[in-house]
Amino acid sequence: MSHDIWVWVAALLTLCILSFLYKDNPFYKFAEYLLIGVALGFGIAIVWYNIIIPKIWIPLRYQHQYHLFIPACLGSLYICRLFPKYAWLSRWPIAFSLGASIGMSLPLTLQAGIFKQVQSTMLSGFSISAIIAFIGVVATLIYFYFSAEHKGFVGGVAKTGIWYVMISFGAIFGYTVMARMSLIIGRFEFLLHNWLGVIK
């Protein structure tokens, strides 16, 4: 059995969360609320060290990048959200971040999300697998195309699309379950090896 206090803390909290398998109980609720609090506190400290210090404090204090006062003033308008009379001013920083983010992502979305995907779908050879993949992409797209009624030829292709989508959902489901299983194996290994020392 471990003599490390941190191992004990981790083990007891793990058991608190696993207790939910029986039913909702105060131990689980305690761990759940603690997790939310710790995760939020973690995020605050990370933002402090990775954003506020290197992106605001150092550039303003030591590098004299005073242009950063502009986004700081703009961003401070978010606070207006807390005062109903001036809440409309909070739209300005939202507009800037929305517009700039979209402007940055739109060409990339077109490039990586559409052109590259279409390019990769095109048959580069005539292997059966490549043809199956090509038919799958077209059929899935037709299945999600609702401007034409799914009847006749379109209906047949859409039906093929359903099969592909089901295969994909099955694969994702199986993959996710196995990922979760590996996590639970990890937790039991921790409890039985690191904490109790039952397995070597």
Partner: protein, 208 residues
């Protein structure tokens, strides 16, 4: 003015950043870097709003002594202590902050996600009962993937892992790509609508 100015800010910043993408010049790159910094700096204040909302929720429940208010005290105490420990004593690899992270947050996070395995399995049993051909396909593929990902699959048939790889690489990838193309087209259309001021849902919630 309350709506037209934000719409213009959105249009101008969006168009400038789109044009910037197509100009391979160092000034253009400078505009990109400045905008990135500006986005980060202005975004910090959005975090303040998020924190205010979170603290307001918990403090209200504590002050009014709503049912289970003690749990809100736990969340508040954990948030403030973790943030204080991190900011005051540093976040180095051997710091107290990282010890708490490794021994409290990581184990609870992993256990929480592992719990989902049980619930997914039981929910799937109820939801995916092989009533239709499509549901049967889904179940069979899921089983193949699950068996093929563990040594049992190889033990049953040595080409099981290859079959799993093939399913992931071709039929699965084809459907994923089809869905991805749909998402990409939808995103591009929605982004254009927002920049051009056709979609104005984001303006809502702060009066006219």
């Amino acid at each position: 003015m309350r709506k037209s100015i934000p719409l213009r800010i959105c249009l101008v910043s969006g168009i400038v950043m789109i044009i910037q993408f197509f100009i391979p010049h160092r000034y253009s790159q400078t505009v990109y870097n400045y905008t990135l910094d500006w986005l980060i700096v202005s975004g910090i204040f959005a975090i303040v709003i998020g924190l205010h909302s979170n603290f307001h929720l918990h403090i209200t429940r504590i002050v009014r002594k709503r049912k289970g208010w003690g749990y809100n005290v736990v969340t508040m105490a954990a948030t403030l202590s973790m943030a204080f420990i991190g900011i005051a004593f540093g976040i180095g690899a051997d710091s107290l902050f990282m010890k708490i992270y490794r021994n409290i947050e990581v184990p609870m996070d992993a256990t929480m996600f592992s719990l989902l395995g049980f619930f997914m399995a039981s929910a799937a049993f109820r939801a995916f009962r092989a009533k239709t051909k499509e549901a049967t396909v889904l179940l069979i593929v899921a089983l193949i993937i699950m068996i093929g990902r563990v040594p049992l699959g190889y033990f049953l048939w040595h080409r099981f892992p290859e079959l799993v790889e093939w399913i992931m690489m071709y039929p699965n990838m084809a459907a994923q790509r089809g869905i991805g193309l749909g998402i990409g087209l939808g995103m591009a259309a929605m982004e254009l609508k927002i920049i051009l001021g056709i979609e104005r849902g984001w303006l809502g919630g702060a009066g006219d």
